[in-house]
């Protein structure tokens, strides 16, 4: 995770019996970035961009990428509790901005409902977690590893730049392992929690909802529902981006986040 001259420090942090892989870099306001269900790419352009002006904490979800798999884990709320544990142990929650990308956005929203005043700012980007009323959240169980990830890009050239036009078998195996972990904790209902919309009303943390105009994985209406459910939220739509806004327009997203963090 360093091509842009950012020096990333990585460590394995024991939490709830999990060897949690955590990368960190940069100085400035504290930002926790929770990645997508496909895991974090080796070159994570948003995290690199944020680390230029922020102190970025970038964990891999339990059972994803380089974090060990907790066989006992059964729900996205379990993941949220693990992150609260991590933050609590290091006293990092105060003045923290939590940025959740897609599936990570769902985890971030669950974390916020558990501690409605704990964070400084909440940023949800194309977040899963809420059931759409009209459309559907794309079911990765019916799509090949490559087709699913490509579906999240409005501009396929961005996919090619990050993963290569034909991703290596080792990348496919990592996507398969991550997908298996997603199934273990989010199989049914798939990619949403029916109780979440009812619990978001207590979250007083200012929230920025960001959605790619062409998100073909989580419909834009879910962004609108998040905006309605969260008392202090505004919705920002990114033109020309799909689900993976962070990989398609990392600098634009980083500047949205840093400006939001700097707001009084």
């Amino acid at each position: 995770m360093s091509v842009s001259g950012i020096a990333w420090h990585t460590e394995s942090v024991p939490v709830a019996g999990i060897a949690l892989h955590v990368a960190s870099a940069g100085t400035g306001p504290r930002v926790l970035v929770l990645p997508h269900d496909i895991g974090r790419p080796d070159r994570a352009p948003l995290e690199d961009a944020l680390a230029r002006t922020c102190s970025v904490l970038a964990p891999s979800h339990p059972g994803y990428d380089r974090s060990s798999r907790p066989d006992w884990m059964r729900s996205v709320r379990d993941v949220a509790v693990v992150y609260h544990w991590l933050l609590g142990e290091r006293d990092l929650a105060r003045d923290l901005t939590v940025v959740g990308l897609g599936f990570g956005g769902w985890i971030a929203a669950e974390m916020a409902t558990m501690a409605p005043r704990a964070f400084k700012r909440l940023v949800l980007v194309g977040a899963m977690g809420i059931k759409p009323e009209r459309g559907e959240i794309a079911d990765q169980a019916l799509l090949s590893y490559i087709d699913y990830v490509r579906r999240g890009f409005a501009d396929q050239r961005a996919f090619d730049r990050l993963f290569g036009a034909e991703p290596a078998t080792s990348q496919l195996e990592q996507w398969d392992l991550n997908r298996e972990m997603t199934f273990r904790i989010a199989w049914k209902p798939y990619m949403y929690n029916p109780t979440l919309p009812h619990l978001l009303g207590g979250v007083t943390t200012p929230a920025l909802i960001v959605w790619g105009r062409d998100d073909r994985i989580v419909p834009l209406e879910c962004g609108e529902r998040y905006q309605k459910a969260l008392p202090r939220a505004r919705l920002e739509i990114v033109e020309g981006a799909g689900h993976f806004v962070d990989m398609e327009q990392p600098d634009m997203l980083a500047s949205l986040v840093t400006r939001f963090v700097a707001e009084a």
């Binding site: 169980a141 090949s144 490559i146 078998t169 195996e173 996507w175 997908r179 199934f183 273990r184 049914k188």
Partner: protein, 411 residues
């Protein structure tokens, strides 16, 4: 020997071009192509074939189930087993089997199977399977816990069959306040359990540890030998000797009056294997978490089209290696002798026809098998000492040393 009749119950009466155009005939291939008029005719033909199989001398009828696919229109093997329990008199009803992980209530399965055992007067052999990959999706069951659910449901069913209720079950995947089914099997200690499989080493090892016969599904002879090497090794470590009574094999075998006709009909075995319509969708057939981790590389490459189906092979190759046997009784008997000599199974299922083979040709095949092939195989079985679990009085399982018997005759 225990010789069984089997059909996948193909639902071939749909517009083939639609399947070709869609590119897969499983899971998402629309059931608007399912014609219930043809379905009604076919179900009744299949019932007629089963009864004929009993009449001509088969020892057992093997049943299975699949979901959302024309290659098998039997969506619940317990339904056909129930019908056959009442309409046959002698044959064993061999279910290979109920897909345990698909069940959200294994106690209900235990009840249904107990009912079938009682109605059939103790003729049930209750095999269990994991279910195919796409069936996890068809039933909404989490593929990542497939094997855990299989093992836990099995333990719960055996307990429900063998220990008086009520008891409480607090498992990882199943929780039941009260287990007390008011239906228990006629056979004690419980109906025999056989485990079919084709690819996963984990299943072979599990079956051998339970001391359950393993039924190899149409594998080639060399691969079958490797299965028995592994099974026997685990049996030895578990404290018993493997052998014919633990070995079963499902043989695709079409017999007709002439070689030409037999070969032409045997080509229909490829109907299911995707030669015509592409049965398996590479993604849906292998959901993440379902397959053995040792095959991860093969399956992720298959899923994106970088390698061919690890399960598939061409018709000519399958004739050559005897995964498919076709001919007149006279020409198939020596081939089947080779199978028996080289792999020494005592349980053999005959998958007699598939695809578009007519009901008349299927019945001819069943008659020729019963009248000419089965008697020859019984002689070969005696000569080679291939005693079935029933003939050998083999233990029901590692847990229960006594052979399964209906209560009225066994005690």
């Amino acid at each position: 020997m225990h010789l069984m009749y089997f059909t996948e119950q193909p639902m071939s009466a749909y517009p083939e071009q639609e399947g070709r155009d869609f590119g897969a005939t499983a899971l998402m291939f629309s059931n608007r192509h399912f014609d219930p008029v043809a379905g009604s005719r076919l179900y009744n033909e299949y019932l007629e074939h089963y009864r004929l199989a009993e009449e001509v001398g088969f020892d057992g009828i093997m049943l299975n189930e699949h979901h959302n696919a024309p290659f098998c229109m039997q969506a619940k093997c317990n339904v056909f087993a129930s019908i056959l329990a009442a309409t046959t008199r002698r044959v064993k009803l061999v279910l290979l089997g109920n897909p345990l992980p698909l069940a959200d209530n294994p106690v209900r399965l235990a009840e249904e199977l107990a009912m079938i055992d009682m109605v059939s007067r103790g003729r049930l052999v209750s095999g269990f399977v994991r279910g195919g990959g796409q069936e996890q999706l068809a039933t909404g069951v989490n593929p990542a816990y497939n094997r855990e659910r299989f093992e836990e449901a099995h333990a719960l069913i055996v307990k429900a069959w063998t220990q008086p209720g009520p008891f409480r079950w607090e498992g990882t995947h199943y929780q039941h306040r009260v287990v007390n089914p008011w239906a228990v099997p006629l056979q004690t200690p419980h109906p025999r359990v056989w485990i079919p499989g084709v690819l996963s080493k984990e299943t072979i090892i599990w079956a051998a540890k339970q001391r359950y016969p393993y039924i190899a599904l149409s594998t080639e002879i060399e691969a079958t030998k490797k299965i028995w090497e592994l099974y026997d090794q685990v049996a030895k470590e578990t404290g018993y000797a493997g052998g014919p009574e633990y070995r079963g094999y499902l043989q695709r075998c079409h017999v007709a009056e002439t070689e030409e006709k037999a070969l032409a009909n045997a080509r229909q075995f490829m109907w299911m294997q995707g030669e015509f319509t592409g049965l398996a969708h590479p993604v849906w057939s292998s959901p993440s978490g379902y397959f053995s981790p040792s095959y991860r590389t093969a399956f992720v490459e298959y899923a994106v089209g970088r390698r061919s189906n690890p399960r598939g092979a061409a018709f000519e190759d399958q004739i050559q290696n005897q995964q498919i046997v076709a001919g007149t009784p006279k020409t198939v008997i020596p081939k089947l002798r080779r199978l028996l000599e080289e792999t020494r199974p005592s349980i053999v299922g005959f998958w007699a026809a598939d695809g578009f083979v007519s009901s008349a040709d299927t019945k001819t095949c069943i008659r020729l098998l019963g009248q000419e092939v089965l008697p020859a195989l019984r002689d070969i079985g005696k000569e080679l000492g291939l005693w079935s679990p029933f003939e050998a009085n083999a233990p029901t399982s590692i847990q229960f040393a006594e052979p399964a018997r209906p209560k009225e005759t066994g005690r």
